[in-house]
Each structure stands twice: as structure tokens, then as C-alpha cells.
């Protein structure tokens, strides 16, 4: 067993400390060390986007980042996006537009969409499609997902 490293981070707005092996990815750290299983594993090699999280506000595949890299950084996961009683407009739109089927890719799409809307609050359809091309969905054909993101951007603009 590899020796563990002590890490201090800000996770979904809260200060957190944990011990992690240097070889453990941030994805593994979130899911297995911190028991935040909302971030999903799809490919574990940076190709599907299911494990997307924000690190210092930047969209990353958490499978391609090490847990120790969270030291002194802020990490935002799906657990910090909205609550059952107070959904983020993107979460609301994904439900309303049936922007999911099986739902395994959904947290990753929501985080990636959030990153897009932070950068480009009023994206065109092409901009949404380009930005989300790093997230794979095998169920929906993307149609309703893209519509949900466009709807959320309008809702957020109006708010």
C-alpha cells in the first residue's frame, strides 16, 4: 500500500481534509475516499466526461487529475450544484426537457454545462454542441440535452 498524503481543499464550498494515496485520481478520491458518489466513472481515461468536476472553476475530467492535486484548490461536484428543494436552473431544465435517459452521464453533463454558461451565458446551439463534445451520452442522441442547456441559459438570463 502506498503511503497516504494529507490534503486540504475546499469542496463544494466547505473546507475538507482527507488522506489519499498519491496514485489515486480525484475521481477515486471523491467517490471512494470522500463517499461523494455523484461524480460518475464512465471510461477512466478522459474520453467520456462522465466524471467532470470544476477545479478552481475550470472544467476537468476528475479521472485525469490526482486527488493530491486538490491541495489548496476549490473543487465543485454535482453534490454542490443544487439541492432537491433548490435545483440549479440546469438541473431543472434537464428534468423538464427529459435531458436524460439512464442518467449515468447526467452529472458530468450538468457540470460541463455549468462551466459553459459561466463562460458563455447565451450560447448558440453550435456553441453548446462544441462545448459538450467532450461528454458522451449513449441514450439521448443529445437532442434534448442541448435543448435543456439552451433553455437553462434563457432561464438564468431572465432570473
Amino acid at each position: 500500500m502506498a503511503k497516504k498524503t494529507h490534503v486540504e481543499t475546499t469542496l463544494n464550498g466547505d473546507a475538507r481534509e482527507f488522506l489519499v494515496e498519491p496514485r489515486q485520481s480525484l475521481l477515486e478520491t471523491l467517490r471512494d475516499v470522500l463517499q461523494l458518489t455523484g461524480t460518475k466513472e464512465g471510461c477512466n481515461d478522459g474520453n467520456c466526461g462522465a466524471c467532470s468536476v470544476l477545479m478552481d472553476g475550470v472544467l476537468v475530467n476528475s479521472c485525469c487529475v490526482l486527488g493530491v492535486e486538490a491541495q489548496g484548490r476549490t473543487v465543485e461536484t454535482i453534490e454542490g450544484m443544487g439541492t432537491t428543494d433548490n435545483l440549479h436552473p440546469l438541473q431543472q431544465a434537464f428534468i423538464e426537457e427529459t435531458g436524460m435517459q439512464c442518467g449515468i452521464c447526467t452529472p458530468g453533463f450538468l457540470i460541463a454545462s455549468k462551466a459553459l454558461l459561466q463562460k458563455t451565458p447565451n450560447p448558440t446551439e453550435d456553441e453548446v454542441r462544441l462545448w459538450l463534445a467532450g461528454n458522451l451520452c449513449r441514450c439521448t442522441g443529445y437532442d434534448k440535452l442541448v435543448r435543456a442547456v439552451l433553455k437553462a441559459s434563457k432561464a438564468m438570463e431572465a432570473a
Binding site: 471512494d32 464512465g42 481515461d45 435545483l87 427529459t98 449515468i104 452529472p107 463534445a133
Partner: protein, 772 residues
């Protein structure tokens, strides 16, 4: 097929609406629990040792170095498994499988048959240690020659995979015909005479690639073996009962000692109703006395689970000058992978069934090659055979000078026609669908621009009935708990709740719909074959009828009258009021009866196990616009419209989602997806970067047109909806490419290189291009 009409027209209160799914909030907040979200105390992690060779005999396995790694608790090989207790069990869509093959596919005993075939498994304190130890398991192989091309595998003198094999069965059994193949022959009429009577005959050869279902969630299982010899399994699956039954056979256990708890499932598409990891994790759990979780890496998923068949086909179809189809002759070689049982039967049956052709011969082979054992993938076999037939049909239409839809209309199978297997076609809107395509604005919209083309195609799928169980429990406040054994792949808890609400005459919000484990519900077949909304829905409607009858009895008791005097208005008014036939003013609402259950004899519940046969078939059609870049061969989808007859759309948004998702999978088959084996027989593109599934950037919005010809075999007229949408896209794209740049593609995927080769074959290679 049971042709007794079940369908009763009625006014819909719930069906056809688009409520938000109740599990949606769990999924958008990350709270939904999938297979990998199971964390048990003291849990170990397992890792599989896999063959790097496509074909080899196992001479010895040395586990000593792996066992010596600190943190390793057990290593198993094929020798640790008990003898099988059952030879054949039911599998997806009416087939059966040899349990010996399934067991050997989970872990090789003597011979490995493909790159990635499991040979041993390790359990350790954490997944990294398990992985390190797995790399230390020493397997000595005698490397054997291998065969991966179906055309090579059926030749005399080909490498033989199995000395003996049980021919595959999938809808229909095949007969052992060649050392590597089972055979299925279907024939009607006199084909030779048919071709003589034809004015135009087109004959073409085709190949398609091995493709994977590509579910985003890998295979994951967690097994616990308790002190009473009970095995509990938390797994990602389309069929908890199938996993239970396979485990019982492989582990030589009685069914009642295994409980399979299906987690939320991250996609399946036919690929997740069989065991791969579960028997290994179970045995490791037994051996260590601790729970064991196992998960596949993405490379393992691609290498060692069941993709869908690549094929080789020869197609010959003839017609009269007026477009009347006269004869068809199909020679089909479908990959079975390492063991028999590929989708040759549905592939053959769906090839031509949408057309009336008097003279047909289909000669189909289920061909074993050194690739993983094929699994059904969404309308298994039909996408391949649709591609080869629909492109020839398009060429015949062109040669007749006919509009491609008019040609299809002229030959379309209609209700009452008899299929090649003797089955009459139940009522379905074949002609109506083709007319809808022709009338759609997309069909006549200007294309604009060079290298653009429009293509159409038309598709058929059978669907499946099979067994479903459900339970309905009425609560004292009038709410209802609905439990089924059907894994929810895409929102069926909602479409099942909607049918319950409709049948019971209660508000949808009063129904709580859940998926039970195998200890808690009657046997239910897998969520495959687009059967869930159809067959499980059927069971729910029947259970609801029992509930309403029981409630009538309670009302009669309260009113002190005969039950024959009590009517229920659920069907007529959509709201369950109980009315006194002799005094229409005397009424009692559903909730009131529920509130008085205790005083009238206790709780009211009902269960029902159904096995409906009237699946009613599925049809779909596509219009596709493409632009082909003649410099690179890249095909861009510009516009796409999908048509489908679903009988009755329970939740039209979900139906549209099934159509869009299926279409995009079909577009993946059409343009990008394929297994690449290198010359050593190893899978060279075992990642989602190199196994190239469509992304959001590759596609436009997918327009959908839902048609509703009620299925006479379902009380609400419902047909399965999930499978047929994948079938027509490759042919629609191929036909569009022809109309864009004048080349008829005869292989899948129609990747840039393939299209460029076809363009060069037609126009000659540009002088500036040098190919190494």
C-alpha cells in the same frame, strides 16, 4: 401468435401526457445509486486477469506471486468453479444459451478464444493492489492460430474454435452446418423462377463492422456471501432474474439462495443481461468471507463483453419494371464471436419482412470467430440486414425510375400478409408511415449546395412479449405502490406508473413505482426487446383489473348489496368512482374505499404475471440529408427526421427520446464505430477515444414523427418502442451519400476513408495523393 384483440379504444387521461420523471431529481443531483455506488463495510476489490491472445491453450497458471502481494486475499481460476447444474437457460428475446458457453466465457477453463478472455481473478484490499497482483498471475499459453473474419472462418481448412458446439438459438435455433458455424435457412416460393420473371436484378456484396453497445456505465457488481450460504448481488443489469439464474447454474446453487438487487443502470442496449464479473466476484466473496466489488475498465468492456456482429453478406433482389419485387436471395454470415448464438435469426427475419416478395431464399450462418461472444444490441441483427437490403431496394427504385418511397409503398407488407415464417402480420401502419414520410416537408425541402444528398430507409422489428410480474398495493390513504421486476433503463418506472394510473383511474401522483429485487417480486424477464412498457404494462393493467374487482366487493359489502350491482367508472370516466347500478347517485370514490379497507377485510393488493404474445411489431423510417466532403470523404449529417409507429405513445417525450437515441446509435454504426483488431488479433481501439461514438458536435437535432396504429395485442394499444429506431439510419445515410456524390457504399462504417476509397474507385485517385 395470439390474435385475440386485447385493445379496447378509450379516452386517455394519463397516457399521452408528459409528466416529469420522479427519479429525475435523484439523477440530476447525483443521488441515484448505480452499480459502482455500492460500498459495503470491509469490502474487497476484484480484478480479472485476461488473455492477451486471441486463441491459445492454457498450459498452466501460477498464482503464487500474486498471492504473495500484501493485501491480496484470494486468487481464483476456472478450476475453482463447480460443475454446471443446468445445461441451457432462457436468454434474451426468446432464445436460449448453453450454460457451458456462458460459464466458459466468464472464465476460460482450458482455452482462451479472444483477446481479453478472463483466465483468473484476484481479490485484494483495494483496486490498485488487485490490479498489481493480477499482473503477477503467470499464465503459460500454447498460442493457437486464430480467425477473425467470417469469410475465412467458413472456408474449408479454417481454424476451428470448438471441437463440438451446441448450435445457437435466438428466436429460432440454427443447425450445426460447418466446423465454425450454425446455419438457418428460410425459403418461400421459387427463387430461380422469380429472378427469371424479374426485369431488373441488383446483386451486391457487403461488410459491416463489429460494434459495441457503448453504455457509459461499465459492468460492475458487488457480491456478499453470508454465513447461511446465501449470495446477495448488487449489480448493474437489465435483468436481475437472468443474473440470478446464470449464477445458480454456474455456482451450482439453488435459485432461492441467490438474491440479485438491481441498481440504477447506466445504459444497457442489450449488453447487460448476462454474467461476466458476477460469478467471479461471488466466488471470491465465498472464498474470502468478505464482500467483493468488481468493475471493468473501459478497455475490458470493449474487449471482453458482448458487442454486436460484424457481417459479410451477398444480396440479390429482382423486380419488374413497374417496381414489383419478384425475388430475393440473401447469403448472410453473421459473427457469433467465440461461442454460438449471434443474432442470425432476427437478422434474417427482419431483412425482408417489411416487403411482400413472393420468392425468397435466405441462407444464414452464425459464424464463430476469435472475438468476444456476441450479445444482442438493440434490434439485434436487424440493423445489419436492413443496411444491405435497403440500399439494394434504393438502387432498384432508381433503376425503375421510381420515387424511392413509391417503390417501398408498392411492395410494403400490410396487415394480414403472411411472413416467411408463416406468421400473419397484425394491424400496423406500414402504408400510413410511408405516406407520412412522403408528405413530410423534409421530403421535398430544397437541399441547396453541392455534394448534398437526401436518403430514405424503412425498417422493421418484431419486438418481444415474455414474462413480467407486478404487484399493486393499495394504501389506506388511497395511494398505490407499484412494484415490478423490470429494470428501468430510460424512464419505464414512469411509463409503467402512467399505465397503472390510467388503469386504476387514480391520479398519477398517487402511484409510487419501483423496481424490486429477485426476492421481492415474481419472475420477470429482462428489460430487453422493447418489451418493458408493453409486457410489464400489460401485467399492470391486468393487476389493476383485479384491484378494481376487489374494491367493488368491498363497496358491495359496505352498501350491503350484491357485487354485481357495483360498477367502476375507471375506464369510462378515467376516475375510479364506484357506482350503484340501481342508484346512480350512490357513489364511492377510490380513496374512500381505500380508507375503509380495514373494516371490510384488510389490505387490498394484487399481483399478476403476464406473458403477452401480441407484440404487434415495430416499424420505422428515416429521411436523412448529408453533405459529403469530396476532399476528405467526411459525411456530415445536415438534417434527420425519424418516423416510428409506437401503437400508443405513453409518454411522447420519452418515445421521442428513444427514437433520437436509437437514431444516433445507428448513425454511429453508419459513420464511425468499428472494432479494429491488429495482426496479432488484439483489439487496437479499446478506448472511447478510438472507438468513436457520436458526440453532440457530430449531429443536428433529430426530428421525430410519432405515428399511432394501436397494437391489438395490448389493452392500451402499446407497441415496444426502443429497438427499431437504430435500424434504418445506416441505410438512410448510405442512400443519401449516393444521392450526394454518386457512390453506393457497401460497407459500414462509412468513415471518411471508406467514402474516399469509394469516390476514388469511381473518379480515380487525384494525382497529388500518394498512399504509402
Amino acid at each position: 401468435m395470439n390474435m385475440e384483440p386485447e385493445y379496447k379504444p378509450r379516452k386517455w387521461r394519463v397516457l399521452g401526457t408528459t409528466p416529469a420523471r420522479r427519479d429525475g431529481i435523484d439523477k440530476v443531483t447525483g443521488q441515484a445509486k448505480f452499480g459502482d455506488d455500492v460500498h459495503l463495510p470491509d469490502m474487497l476489490h476484484g480484478k480479472v486477469v485476461r488473455s492477451p491472445h486471441p486463441h491459445a491453450r492454457i498450459k498452466s497458471i501460477d498464482i503464487s506471486k500474486a498471492m504473495a502481494v500484501p493485501g491480496v486475499k484470494a486468487v481464483i481460476t476456472g478450476a475453482d468453479f463447480p460443475p454446471l447444474n443446468q445445461a441451457v437457460v432462457a436468454a434474451g428475446e426468446g432464445g436460449s444459451v448453453s450454460m457451458q458457453d456462458i460459464a466458459d466465457n466468464c472464465i476460460a477453463k482450458h482455452t482462451v478464444f479472444y483477446d481479453g478472455h478472463a483466465v483468473a481473478a484476484v481479490a485484494a484490499e483495494n483496486p490498485h493492489v488487485a490490479e498489481e497482483a493480477a499482473a503477477l498471475v503467470e499464465v503459460e499459453y500454447e498460442i493457437l492460430p486464430f480467425v477473425q473474419d467470417v469469410r475465412e472462418a467458413v472456408k474449408d481448412g479454417a481454424v476451428v474454435l470448438h471441437e463440438d458446439f451446441v448450435p445457437g438459438a435466438f428466436l429460432f435455433p440454427t443447425q450445426k452446418a460447418l466446423p465454425n458455424a450454425g446455419r438457418l435457412q428460410l425459403a418461400v416460393g421459387d427463387v430461380e423462377q422469380g429472378f427469371k420473371d424479374a426485369d431488373i436484378v441488383v446483386e451486391r456484396e457487403y461488410t459491416t463492422a463489429t460494434v459495441h453497445q457503448g453504455y457509459i456505465e461499465s459492468h460492475i457488481t458487488t457480491c456478499r456471501w453470508d454465513s447461511e450460504d446465501h449470495l446477495t448481488v448488487w449489480t448493474t443489469t437489465q435483468g436481475a432474474f437472468a443474473i440470478r439464474d446464470f449464477l445458480a447454474s454456474i455456482l451450482n446453487m439453488q435459485l432461492s439462495n441467490i438474491r440479485v438487487i438491481p441498481m440504477e443502470i447506466g445504459g444497457g442496449f442489450g449488453g447487460k443481461d448476462v454474467v461476466y464479473l458476477d460469478p467471479l466476484a461471488a466466488l471470491l466473496a465465498k472464498k474470502t468471507g468478505r464482500p467483493v466489488k468488481m468493475a471493468m475498465s473501459r478497455a475490458e468492456v470493449l474487449k471482453a463483453t458482448g458487442p454486436s456482429s460484424g457481417i459479410y453478406a451477398k444480396v440479390k433482389i429482382g423486380c419488374k419494371k413497374d417496381g414489383t419485387l419478384m425475388a430475393a436471395d440473401l447469403y448472410l454470415l453473421f459473427e457469433a464471436g467465440a461461442y454460438p448464438g449471434g443474432p442470425i435469426a432476427p437478422g434474417a427475419l427482419c431483412a425482408l419482412t417489411r416487403y411482400q416478395i413472393p420468392n425468397v431464399v435466405i441462407d444464414g450462418y452464425d459464424v464463430m470467430v476469435n472475438k468476444p461472444k456476441i450479445k444482442p444490441y438493440r434490434a439485434p441483427g436487424a440493423t445489419q440486414s436492413n443496411f444491405i437490403v435497403e440500399t439494394v431496394i434504393d438502387e432498384l427504385a432508381e433503376k425503375c425510375g421510381m420515387d424511392p418511397i413509391d417503390f417501398r409503398l408498392k411492395n410494403a407488407t400490410v396487415a394480414g400478409d403472411v411472413l416467411i415464417v408463416g406468421m400473419p402480420v397484425p394491424p400496423i401502419g406500414t402504408v400510413e408511415m410511408l405516406q407520412a414520410v412522403k408528405k413530410h416537408p423534409h421530403y421535398t425541402a430544397p437541399l441547396g449546395g453541392p455534394n448534398r444528398g437526401r436518403g430514405v430507409s424503412y425498417a422493421f422489428w418484431f419486438g418481444a412479449g415474455l414474462t413480467s410480474s407486478c404487484e399493486l398495493h393499495i394504501n389506506a390513504d388511497g395511494t398505490v405502490n407499484l412494484a415490478t421486476g423490470s429494470a428501468d433503463l430510460s424512464g419505464t418506472r414512469m411509463t409503467l406508473a402512467m399505465q397503472a394510473a390510467e388503469a386504476l383511474g387514480v391520479p398519477l401522483g398517487d402511484i409510487s413505482s419501483s423496481v424490486s429485487d429477485t426476492d421481492s417480486i415474481g419472475y420477470t424477464f429482462q428489460s430487453v426487446g422493447s418489451r418493458t412498457t408493453f409486457a410489464t404494462g400489460y401485467a399492470i393493467i391486468k393487476a389493476a383489473e383485479i384491484i378494481l374487482d376487489r374494491m367493488k366487493q368491498r363497496v358491495a359489502m359496505i352498501w350491503e348489496t350484491d357485487v354485481a350491482n357495483v360498477d367502476c367508472t375507471a375506464e369510462v370516466a378515467g376516475i375510479a368512482d364506484f357506482v350503484d347500478r340501481n342508484d346512480p347517485h350512490r357513489r364511492m370514490h377510490f380513496k374512500e374505499v381505500a380508507a375503509r379497507m380495514d373494516e371490510t377485510g384488510g389490505p387490498i393488493s394484487a399481483d399478476f404475471t403476464a406473458n403477452p404474445h401480441g407484440v404487434g411489431f415495430q416499424i420505422a423510417a428515416n429521411i436523412c440529408d448529408v453533405e459529403v466532403d469530396p476532399e476528405t470523404g467526411k459525411v456530415q449529417i445536415l438534417r434527420f427526421t425519424a418516423f416510428q409507429d409506437v401503437g400508443k405513445a405513453v409518454h411522447p417525450d420519452y418515445v421521442a427520446g428513444q427514437m433520437q437515441g436509437g437514431v444516433v446509435q445507428g448513425l454511429g454504426w453508419a459513420l464511425n464505430e468499428e472494432y479494429w483488431y491488429n495482426k496479432e488479433g488484439r483489439l487496437a481501439n479499446a478506448s472511447l477515444l478510438d472507438y468513436r461514438m457520436p458526440t453532440s458536435l457530430d449531429l443536428p437535432m433529430i426530428d421525430t414523427v410519432i405515428l399511432e396504429t394501436p397494437n391489438p395485442g395490448h389493452p392500451f394499444g402499446i407497441r415496444g418502442a426502443g429497438e427499431v429506431p437504430i435500424v434504418p439510419p445506416p441505410a438512410a445515410v448510405a442512400n443519401a451519400i449516393k444521392n450526394a456524390v454518386g457512390v453506393r457504399m457497401n460497407r459500414l462504417p462509412m468513415s471518411p476513408g471508406a467514402v474516399l476509397e469509394a469516390l476514388w474507385a469511381k473518379e480515380g485517385k487525384p494525382a497529388s495523393v500518394k498512399v504509402a
